[in-house]
Symmetry: C2
Subunit: 305 residues, 2 copies
């Protein structure tokens, strides 16, 4: 799984940072891209990446503020124009359907693919055999959510030495053995998968948080994720501004990362008031709270491993 | 009056051309900027110009297709964020108010200035002592309009020689004489302005057309304008595509410009399928129909004179 940050600013676009969006690319795993938030000009940002809009199958909206959703109608429309034909599922809070439907209706837009609305509440909002997505409410004036994406653990690799002991040579039989719990060989031997594979490969776990002030119960919910993506609208010196606007500071996010013992912290939704130099100094300070962490930029790529 | 083209593409944004918008800058005349259409990421384009969103006082929408309006909520919202406080008037067809109101409502957006909706129909839609705007219906599947902006003729310059003959020396009295039709001098002499000014300075006239197939009656309506801005989604070789999609070819626009005896033709709303080389060849061909003309690009500036 790879993450491409498409917009890492807050509130309004600036020359350096567009408004919020990020792509979770699962091309190897399932040939799909999932989008989280879709601020204005997300489709323009995508033009500068290798992402194909028709591969986008699910879009998750953290909250309905304009800097997180205004790019949705244009993206959906262009995806249709660029021959996207597969269903798109839209996950998000109340208001999302009314916003999208009214926009499509008043602009006379007809999509060449089905759009399915998935209103969310806390708990599991999507699950298939490979992946699970849950939502948790945050605190931001209007309903705002964090999403947690959890891959199922995968069966470990076949162990050729063990198989050899059972008289199995490499070949198509390997695939058969891996795909079922017990395989009966032509000679009658039963091969139990659990005996010929290494330990399970843990699935990746990612948490993507919408705009929020610090939420006590969040640490437990994101506990141990491989990557925590959290807003850092302000630096700690501007703590009062964060409080005034129901946002977090970078230090709030770092404390959460520490408490939740996550593996990596990525900070986005950064106010355009901060120059790169300020952010580098803040990063140095934050590392006494938690590490590794990174302020991300538009087009930052991150591989989850 | 100066025109800045903010988006000159058609349908979907491309790397070279954003979707539709142009700014009519009347900073010297009235310290205002008027926007015509506002496709997605118009506010991003504006960031690359000297235009200040708070100077935008009127926005005219030619038609409700997404590539002409989806940037409106974001622009209005950022204008508020950037301390725009003066009223914005929104002129456009049915659906504009529902689109904007629903978008602002569902995204929890509060503007710090009044928004006034001005639904349009054919005829004069705005008039003050300096300028008049009229609308005319075009043909594009959904209601689409052309806008004509006509400055009032201005009183010609004072003629110092004539004034001297009447015993008037340069001074504040000049301004008084220019501002009223008759001025009585301290010595009792009546000065009639019409006798001491040169001929009227004709006001500039600009026509900005929305998406349309050729419309017979348009030539008379735009007759003699200083600048005709017209869509040229296709080149003449793709005439059938233009017909299929209710658009015009560049040649359609050139024939209109010739018939209407306009002074200058600016072609916008250009399909991204055409490379610059193709457009240059088309321009050469078109010049046998009408000249001067120009395919405009994003950020092309044009001074109306
Ligand atoms: Zn935000
Ligand atoms: Zn158009």
């Amino acid at each position: 799984m790879e993450i491409t940050f498409l917009g890492t600013g807050s509130g309004v676009p600036s020359k350096n940072r567009n408004v919020s969006s990020l792509a979770l690319k699962m091309l190897q795993e399932r040939d799909e891209v999932w989008l989280f938030d879709c601020g204005e000009a997300t489709q323009h940002q995508i033009m500068n990446t290798t992402i194909k809009p028709r591969k986008i199958t699910k879009i998750f909206i953290t909250h309905m503020h304009g800097d997180h959703v205004l790019g949705l109608p244009g993206l959906l429309s262009s995806r249709s124009f660029q021959s996207g034909e597969s269903t798109v599922e839209l996950y998000g809070p109340t208001g999302l359907k009314e916003f999208v439907e009214t926009t499509l209706k008043t602009t006379g837009t007809h999509l060449n693919y089905p759009l399915v609305y998935k209103p969310i509440k806390e708990g599991i909002i999507y699950q298939d055999q490979d992946i699970k997505v849950s939502a948790k409410k945050l605190k931001h004036g209007i309903p705002s959510y964090a999403y947690k994406i959890e891959e199922e653990d995968k069966i470990g690799p076949l162990l050729p030495d063990r198989l050899k002991e059972l008289g199995v040579s490499p070949g198509p039989i390997y695939e058969t053995i891996k795909n079922q719990s017990t395989t009966v060989l032509p000679n009658g031997t039963e091969v139990h998968r659990e005996n010929v594979t290494g330990s399970d490969i843990p699935g990746k776990r990612i948490a993507i948080c919408g705009d929020t002030k610090p939420v006590d119960s969040l640490a437990q919910w994101v506990n141990g994720v491989d990557v925590l993506i959290h807003e850092a609208t302000f630096i700690e010196a501007d703590d009062q501004l964060a409080k005034d606007y129901s946002h977090s500071t970078a230090a709030d996010a770092a404390r959460l990362a520490k408490q939740a013992q996550v593996s990596y912290l990525l900070l986005n939704h950064i106010s355009s008031r901060y120059q790169q130099q300020i952010l580098e100094e803040e990063k140095t300070r934050l590392q006494s709270i938690f590490s590794p962490l990174q302020f991300v930029d538009d087009f930052t790529e991150f591989t989850v491993k």
